[in-house]
């Protein structure tokens, strides 16, 4: 799963901030600095902001270092069905707590250094084994320093989702199945059965 950041929809107005003295022969200021009222836009908000993975990581680290959780929309289906495309997550700092088996955490990948949000499926001697619930393979073992926060809340279409990420038997079972390559086949079967049951219910 990756973060998606919202921001404004309107176009950025380039003002004198982009024009140093040496550059001014080539440009004219389109900004409100020439306006008689002084009312101009300096800031963008709402809408969508496309940040690179490393920028998302930096933003998340900035918040978590201050002990502040981040509430943000995520994109992707690597954690389907427990986290879905466009779900809203709250990612909180671990605050020296040890990551728990079955928990969903934000971490820095071994090979790429990129941000990912996956589940801890096993405790190993040197760290924790990570895997997306919908991924064919595990990500590998990461050490504590690579885990930067954990998911404490999932919101979907205005509802809070409580299953599958909080410490307890449910998330532990998911991790256990995932570590044994049983989660994907069981989920596939369960989703097919659910579809059949729904179709039967409509008849």
């Amino acid at each position: 799963m990756l973060l998606r950041n919202k921001r404004s929809g309107f176009d950025r107005i380039e003002g004198w901030g982009s024009m140093h003295k040496d550059d001014t022969k080539e440009y004219k200021s389109p900004l409100g600095c020439t306006s008689t009222t002084g009312s101009s836009e300096y800031i963008s908000y709402g809408g969508e902001l496309h940040l690179s993975n490393s920028a998302q990581l930096e933003l998340l680290l900035g918040l978590l270092k201050r002990g502040v959780p981040l509430r943000t929309t995520v994109r992707g289906c690597s954690m389907f069905p427990f986290i879905r495309d466009f779900d809203i997550l709250i990612i909180a700092p671990l605050n020296e707590a040890e990551p728990c088996l079955g928990g969903i955490v934000a971490f820095i990948r071994n090979n790429t250094g990129k941000l990912a949000i996956h589940r801890i499926i096993a405790k190993k001697e040197v760290g924790w084994l990570m895997r997306g619930d919908n991924c064919p393979e595990a990500d590998g073992v990461v050490v504590l320093g690579q885990i930067i926060g954990h998911v404490t809340r999932i919101e979907r279409r205005g509802r809070v989702i409580n299953f599958g990420f909080k410490p307890g038997i449910g998330s532990y079972l998911i991790a256990w199945l995932s570590a044994r390559n049983l989660l994907l086949p069981i989920m596939t079967l369960a989703l097919k059965l659910l579809k059949i049951m729904r179709l039967d219910g409509r008849k």
Partner: protein, 101 residues
């Protein structure tokens, strides 16, 4: 009651935000009930806002910020002053900047 913003005002970054310069953009996340809400509220500054923001060090008055920017950009202090004060008023109104007492 909000403090008046003048050229004698010193503005500081609010404690209710987290701001980072990332890939050339100033990204500001307001804290809502102690949570950085990047879903409903996330701000970025345009180039003018960024230029002003980078001069705010919690020590310079807005008048001094105007002088510094006037030295750097080929616009009059009056033109730049309108933007600096306009920016400060907007940021204070949004709770992104606070007026230093």
């Amino acid at each position: 009651m909000r403090a008046e913003v003048t050229t004698d005002t010193v503005c500081v970054f609010s404690e209710d935000i987290v701001a980072r310069e990332i890939e050339g953009d100033i990204i500001i996340v307001p804290l809502v009930s102690g949570i950085g809400d990047a879903d409903d509220e996330l701000y970025t500054l345009n180039e003018t806002g960024k230029a002003i923001w980078q001069k705010l060090d919690g020590k310079l008055t807005l008048g001094q910020v105007i002088s510094v920017l006037t030295d750097e950009y080929a616009f009059s202090d009056e033109q730049i002053g309108i933007d600096v004060l306009g920016f400060a008023v907007e940021m204070v109104r949004r709770g992104i900047l606070a007026v230093k007492e």
